[in-house]
Symmetry: C2
Subunit: 362 residues, 2 copies
């Protein structure tokens, strides 16, 4: 059984919302290419100074037509998918609109899942620009929807990052209702870090590095603010195999233990360390495109905490007339190489973990 | 035989230079603690708005007294060390001062090595704020100094990053004289990424994440600008096991292959890929503080390209009255765990690789 835990949709309600907008994020057809709709979502992505990325990416029916999702699953032998709204979710909405929009989109996604019994589940979307109590109410509502298995969340939280104590009521509600957070990047890094020639490299630096580095920073800030000491049963699934967390965990732990300021305030001891949290609260997807990265993720969290994903509909086939997705096969290939003859562990990662952890009954 | 390839000094010439300065980087004794000199080197580190880090770190004789370096080596059973000036090197000097300063510091360091025959070697420092021809001249001069085995370099290059075509004459000279670059971070990431509570976390975020993420961005920019296609014999030793490069290599390669802009310009094919460069031009130190990270570094580059390091004199013993360095033992421990019973591979990483690659004759 194969389950994809990292696969996105822009349901019709959300596509309409993006079509009505004229600033990032938005969808539009440019006058010189009226037949091709473009999705422009990343911060600064419509900057005319960087023409290599200023028109985002083409958006077709694979982004919003659920039948295409299911056809993709069939082609790549995926039995069930846990779909999630893609970035930037509702982070950008005025606070008074967020609660309503979240309800509509979650109901829309729940409806899509209901069309394909046993094949589709979902992570819900939270109205994070609304007051915390509105967010908590939506968490409670999501807990009652048949196909919801947690929430997808960016790194901004209520606007001040995931180490913001104002998130505590939200973490508490998620813990209480056993709703997992699927933590996903969107904001990347300030473009200055990519230097004056970034325009020559298309989307490579923000996608290949900005995304995973953003995730790593966000989760390390959660660790440093001791979120998991306060909420020991809060579970988080990290996108892209944790950003770079498995690789850097040793350095992070060492820097904490050696830090003069933390030592002075008694904060280097008496806390749950990163390895404990990696093996108790954190799950990792297996979207890392190489055996090297996948084995590090496996070493950090254990085979029982890794779950296959595709990142569909991003990273489509390399050639227009190719059906199979190279990106998906790279992730399948990494699993088969990393596990060699250990079929049981490979099956855990491919689907059995997701079935158990997310209580799927396909 | 054990060789430490990542170990820093601030030789007397450089300490004097920092003592004369009043803006970052500098060394000073504060009026309310006159007995304790402080080293303040990181960008924005003296910002009074972040008191947890605004006085940098204590600096003692372990930073500049070479006898203390050798005593440290003896205690931790290190036979030979390849010392390098610590960050921020000479990046901040006015161009007319850089050439002279580099010569003095390199001669100073060469003299320190000569005091301990067979035990000390060095990576030289380049005057990167001077014109390229001054830099090239110093590379040529370094090639003739008995103990020099390459150069240490930050990620700024001539001010525009390591993907700057203006660096080509410098890369050419380094390749010609078989001088390896030890690529080391200093600038980190813009502080905005650490959020409004960064002050509570001391130096953890800039050191544990800013440093390795900076290295990863720098080396990926080199890759994208095809430095190694132009200079196929240019060798680079990456600090901190490559930042996060081994873990992210698969994602970087996948993002290159999928990039619309690169594809349009025919740049996804006909280039040396990241795995080729990892196994041909890149060496990694073993300063990663965990078995998980070390194994990923090993998987990415092979046991013949990994070299032990300590980062001395940073990350000193955890307790004042302890002699052994926890940070050093964490790196030793990672090697012994990662290699298990494969003593030959462990010996390669501990010293034999460095002896061969850097042509040491201890």
């Amino acid at each position: 059984m194969i389950v994809d835990v990292h696969t996105h949709v822009y349901p019709p309600t959300y596509v309409e919302l993006l079509r009505r907008r004229t600033t990032v994020p938005y969808i539009r057809n440019f006058e010189d290419a009226p037949e091709s709709a473009r999705l422009i979502i990343l911060p600064g992505e419509d900057d005319p100074a960087t023409p290599s990325t200023s028109r985002g990416r083409p958006i077709g029916a694979e982004y919003y037509d659920i039948a295409q999702k299911v056809a993709f699953m069939d082609m790549h032998k995926i039995d069930a998918s846990v779909i999630s709204l893609a970035n930037p979710w509702l982070d950008f909405l005025p606070c008074e609109e967020a609660g309503d929009a979240a309800r509509k989109i979650n109901d829309d996604v729940e409806g899509l899942c209901a069309k394909y019994p046993g094949r589709l589940y979902a992570f819900g979307t939270l109205p994070l620009s609304a007051p915390a109590k509105t967010v908590v109410k939506e968490i409670e509502r999501l807990a009652g929807l048949e196909h919801m298995r947690g929430v997808i969340m960016g790194t901004s939280g209520l606007g001040n990052g995931l180490d913001d104590p104002a998130l505590d009521p939200i973490y508490e509600a998620l813990q209480k209702h056993e709703q997992l957070i699927f933590l996903h990047p969107h904001y990347g890094l300030p473009s200055s870090v990519y230097g004056p020639r970034a325009n020559e490299y298309g989307h490579v630096l923000p996608l290949a590095l900005g995304f995973p580095l953003e995730t790593t920073i966000a989760v390390t800030r959660m660790l440093l603010s001791q979120v998991w000491d306060r909420f020991p049963k809060l579970n988080v699934l990290l996108a892209h195999s944790g950003g770079t967390l498995p690789f850097l965990a040793g350095r992070i732990e060492s820097c904490i233990r050696h830090d003069g300021h933390l030592k002075k305030h008694g904060k280097t001891e008496g806390r749950r360390d990163i390895w404990d949290i990696l093996k108790t609260n954190i799950y990792l997807d297996a979207v890392i495109y190489s055996e090297v990265g996948l084995k590090a993720a496996l070493d950090a969290s254990g085979a029982g905490r890794l779950m296959f994903g595709t990142d569909h509909p991003f990273f489509p086939p390399l050639e227009e007339n190719t059906k199979e997705w190279h990106s998906v096969n790279a992730n399948y290939g990494a699993i088969s190489k990393a596990f060699g003859n250990n079929e049981e562990a490979a099956e855990q990662v491919l689907g059995n973990n997701a079935r158990r952890i997310l209580k799927l009954s396909p």
